[in-house]
Amino acid sequence: MGDKFSATRRQMLKGAGAAGLAAAASLVPAGHAAAKRGGRSKAKAPRWAMVFDLRRCVGCRACTVACKAEYDVPLGVWNTVVNEEMVGRYPDTKKPFLPIRCNHCEGNKEDMIPPCVKDCPEYPKERQKYITPDGKKIRYRDGATYKRPDGLILNINKYCTGCGKCIKACPYGARAFNKRIKSGKDSTKNGITKCTSCAHRIDKGVVPACVNICPGRARVFGDLNDPNSEVSKLAKEFNLVKERDKTTLLPGEDTVPMNFYIDPDNALKTKIATRKYTENESFSCKVS
């Protein structure tokens, strides 16, 4: 399994780098990963993932506002939203809620590069080192949009040309122009806003803002490489990784999302979940 998903030298140069390596482990069902690697002391980054437990989402949008505040996100754009859709005929009506944010995609099996990173003309850029919890180093390349070895898809505005290709590339509408900032390389264009999984918080040991606030505890965040994490336990209980075609958004896009849904009301079958965003569209939040 490890070999099958090991990044080739070419892929490393292309940019998936060590991120691919570390990421491969997360495709192994939780709990098996450590055993399979046996005694090998390969550097292992966490594989951050989010489980949206839709049994617990009440559509309150605390997450949406917490995110607005954390980053002072401008009006008109969002890094995370909760959408809702009325389904069924009265009186057998249901109203599932669907929280969405950047899926921090793994990218497909072939290159392990998510579409936004793939389409970014300013990727790869500088070499960077990622220090794992056990003190080992993983090398990777940054870029205007890049994947960190722990799976987070992040932006560096100083490289950004404001071309908007990443926005078009993302089928989930998880990216948008931030009208308050200019792109680093072209002052006539805007930079990008998107969910960072609150990298600045998790790097210092605190859960993302949306997870912190969520009153229903519908957002569970953690390391899929750690079999004892809550996300791993939920993944195991609900077959979230094994059956990712049923637990993630737009599986047909083969982006391999790292947001998983526990979905009792078939929210993933609604229009809001199956909608593919094209061109410059981004998701928005409307309460009805």
Binding site: R56, L75, G76, M86, R89, K94, P96, I131, G135, A199
Partner: protein, 837 residues
């Protein structure tokens, strides 16, 4: 050494996560790893990575008053989160709470005292100094007081709780001498409170979701907007997901709560009481009642009735209320009523909950009594997992000057004579009508605080007309941070800060039945010249020659912390400033308080007498005319000591506001005196009985992202919710030839509004639903598109604002019309006609 609880472990986990992250074990650019992430209490700038300064405080967006923490960066409040150490909120906050920052930095904030410069309501203002403002106000107030008419100063508040209430009402206004103090409870849920005061005494029901096994919900939106929202929301979700607790919700709409419930049972407006009555009948007939609890129930006029007699009386009373009868009224299938009744009675413990869906009707008080009965006959009262009397913090505080005059009041607070049987929390929506009427006198100074009489009451146009009329209200003062529809009609505006800039102690009910003490402290200094009104009254009192004994709200809170047992020993004010919250770790949850026996010596105290008619021991000194007997003697309830049941005297269900006995009163002598049915029953809504063809019932509701009437200025909220089309079921819409997006007219007997239709499967046929919150015509650019006269342009959002709809306010067409028992305004009863515009 204390026992370590689960909560302590969570805290330990949190702490260790932080240590790991900051202890320098991991070096490099990324400290992340398979470490346990802390749940919160820390935040960092995403731009610089610098840790933001943390300050614990309390929310004030809604009455929940959740404990929270705020993060300050470069002197600016940037983020609000839940308070992890709070046993109520458990570190959680809602969207409105998190958007509180928008309240603080609203570019429409009023930052200076303002005086009207044109005609009233014309929108012309002149900035004045605080000294000028207070000199003018002192002059007017002192004159009234000196002339012996302090009651002509009317103070009307919307939200005043905890220390705010004590400083302004208990210390300032009572020393000043006016009792013409209005509130807003009758436009909220007063029928619940009066219903509870008539049955179990003190108002406020806590729902013990942590321990319940079944939840039966009549018209509460507790998963989206509740008076104890965050504490209860998360516990209900946890109960459902972690313990498979079933929650069945009756509602006219597929609210978020209904949507998330195990089952939504659609029901006709105002008929919940019929369904609950039929359930009571099923349970009694099936013999599933709790015999033990019946000992504490009063179900007949005889206080010494045996349980068998009470059961028989109740069965007889309930005989006509069959499930089939209820089905005809409510459209809820009889079989469903029967099965839910049996399930509710057999599942122990079970919790029946309700709110505005039952409350804001003509029969609101009766509905409350019926639901109380459902809980009582199944023994789900004051028990783990049931419906419990709320428990909040009991602060000690300075009371102001010892010498207080005998207060006077204008009789304009409780509605027109004879219209409301027990206005235990006043009838605020009738105040303006009564001022217009004038028979009971008129205030010469009308001041309002955290209240918008024009917008929040029904019949907005009537409110505007009265508020504008200087012959009816000669002088008006608005205390507000924002230029809302009511501020626009004031003669003077005193600029209050937002709640994020002031001090308070708080005491809201705890979901765990263990009281939590907590404070609110400022994150930043008040903006501009805004001044906390609590500090202003200290100043006013001083100017009028009766200093309150403390100079500011901060001093009051400090003094309270040093006086209050528990808080004092924990470290008093300094501890509270640092921690924000305190509860006694040894305190046991308060259940079954009614079962406690009264000590013999308490019955022998001077003045304590036994009332044969009710079985109540009470201190007759509390009433001026004790000879009338406990039930009829004025204020007798204040002397309540205990209830004799058999040969014992119990604490029972202590009365509050009215002279009920210490029994859990299903049979109410007090209602009988007023010519009402003494046992809980179903009262049809008169207007609904007379509906013609094509008439619809208007229902109102709240969404999870707005507060009732005070949040449309919050850009992050209004961005998500700035339009409120009228919701109509497809069947009803088809009959009217209406499609989604059509302009429609909704006309009541008061007047009509024009709005947009939204045809939806999430609502019952025969009604039209319009939310509160929107349709502002002032309140700033985010709320109404209109810039207030004193607004600045100092907010990045003003250029980014993209919405151009502001919704329609339903209150224009809802009359101010009280429930005849409590005075509740009937927001869910209005009959209207809907036509294409």
């Amino acid at each position: 050494m204390q026992k370590i609880t689960r909560r302590d472990l969570i805290k330990l986990g949190v702490a260790s996560g932080v240590v790991l992250a900051t202890g320098g074990i991991f070096k490099g650019n990324a400290l992340a790893g398979s470490i346990k992430l802390a749940a919160g209490n820390k935040d960092f700038s995403p731009k610089t990575g610098v840790e933001r300064k943390m300050i614990p405080s309390a929310c004030w967006s809604c009455v929940t008053r959740d404990s929270m923490i705020g993060f300050v960066e470069d002197g600016r409040l940037v983020k609000l989160e839940g308070q992890l150490d709070s046993i109520r909120g458990l570190g959680k906050l809602c969207s409105k709470g998190a958007a509180g920052i928008n309240q603080l930095y609203d570019p429409g904030r009023i930052l200076y005292p303002m005086k009207r410069a044109g005609k009233r309501g014309e929108g012309k203002w002149k900035r004045i100094s605080w000294d000028d403002a207070l000199t003018e106000l002192t002059g007017r107030l002192k004159k009234l007081r000196d002339e012996g008419h302090p009651e002509k100063f009317m103070f009307h508040y919307g939200r005043m709780k905890g220390s705010s209430s004590k400083i302004v009402k208990s210390a300032f206004l009572s020393t000043y001498g006016t009792k013409t103090i209005g509130n807003h409870t009758s436009i909220c849920e007063v029928s619940k409170w009066t219903g509870q005061e008539l049955t179990w005494g003190k108002h406020y029901d806590n729902w013990d979701f942590d321990n319940t096994k079944f939840v039966l919900n009549f018209g509460s939106g507790c998963l989206e907007s509740h008076t104890n929202s965050i504490p209860l929301l998360q516990r209900l979700v946890a109960a459902m997901v972690e313990r498979n607790v079933k929650c069945v919700t009756f509602d006219v709409r597929l609210s978020n709560t209904a949507a998330r419930s195990t089952e939504w049972v659609p029901i006709r407006p105002g008929t919940d009481g019929a369904v609950a009555l039929a359930m009571c009948k099923e349970i009694m007939d099936a013999g599933l009642y709790d015999k033990e609890f019946f000992k504490f129930i009063k179900a007949t006029p005889n206080p010494n009735a045996s349980t068998d007699e009470k059961v028989a009386a109740l069965k007889k009373h309930l005989a006509p209320y069959t499930p089939e009868w209820a089905e005809k009224i409510s459209n809820v299938p009889a079989a469903k009523i029967k099965s839910l009744a049996l399930e509710f009675a057999k599942t122990k413990p079970a919790c029946v909950i309700n709110y505005r869906g039952t409350a804001a009707h003509y029969n609101g008080t009766e509905n409350e009594r019926v639901i109380q009965m459902l809980a009582a006959i199944t023994g789900n009262i004051d028990n783990p997992g049931g419906r419990c009397r709320g428990v909040g913090a009991k602060w000690k505080y300075p009371k102001g000057p010892k010498k207080k005059p005998k207060g006077k009041k204008l009789k304009i607070l409780d509605g027109f004579p004879g219209t409301v049987a027990y206005p235990t929390h006043h009838v605020s929506h009738q105040v303006l009508k009564m001022i217009k009427d004038g028979k009971a006198g008129r205030p010469e100074v009308y001041m309002w605080y955290c209240y918008t009489p024009v917008y929040a009451n029904g019949d907005c146009q009537e409110n505007i007309d009265i508020m504008k009329d200087e012959s009816l209200i000669p002088y008006s003062v608005c205390v507000n941070a924002y230029y809302d529809e009511s501020a626009a009609l004031a003669d003077m505006i005193l600029p209050n800060p937002s709640y994020l800039e002031w001090w308070d102690w708080e005491d809201m009910v705890s979901p765990t039945q263990v009281p939590e003490y907590y404070i609110r402290q400022p994150f930043v200094k008040p903006l501009g010249e805004s001044r906390d009104f609590k500090d202003v009254v200290c100043d006013l009192a001083e100017r009028m020659g009766f200093p309150l004994g403390f100079k500011s709200a901060e001093e009051f809170v400090r003094m309270s912390c040093e006086k209050t047992p528990g808080v004092k020993e924990a470290g008093g004010f300094e501890y509270m400033k640092k921690q924000g919250v305190w509860h006694d770790p040894k305190a046991k949850p308060k259940y079954f308080e009614y079962k406690k026996e009264v000590k013999g010596e308490d019955l022998k105290k001077e003045g304590v007498i036994f009332d044969e008619a009710t079985g109540v021991y009470w201190n007759s000194k509390k009433s001026k005319k004790p000879d009338a007997g406990y039930t009829k003697a004025k204020n007798a309830y204040k002397g309540y000591v205990g209830q004799k049941i058999g040969d014992k005297v119990y604490k029972g269900f202590k009365p509050d506001k009215v002279n009920k006995s210490g029994y859990f009163e299903l049979y109410s002598e007090l209602l009988k005196i007023k010519g009402k049915q003494p046992l809980p029953n179903f009262v049809p809504i008169p207007e609904h009985e007379k509906m013609g063809a094509g008439d619809l019932i208007l229902t109102t509701y709240k969404v999870p992202v707005q507060i009732h009437s005070r949040s449309a200025n919050c850009k992050w909220l209004t961005e998500m919710y700035h339009d409120n089309p009228a919701k109509i079921n497809p069947k009803t819409a088809k009959g009217l030839g209406i499609k989604t997006g059509d302009k429609i007219k909704v006309k009541s007997k008061v007047r009509e509004i024009t709005t947009t239709a939204e045809v939806t499967e999430g609502i019952i046929p025969g009604i039209v639903a319009i939310s509160h919150h929107l349709g502002h015509w002032e309140y700033g650019r985010y709320a109404s598109g209109k810039k207030s006269p004193m607004a600045t342009d100092n907010d990045s959002g003003l250029k980014e604002k993209w919405w151009k709809t502001y919704g329609v306010h339903p209150n224009w067409i809802i009359p101010n019309s009280p429930d005849p028992i409590s005075g509740q305004n009937r927001y869910m009863d209005t009959v209207c006609k809907v036509t294409k515009a």
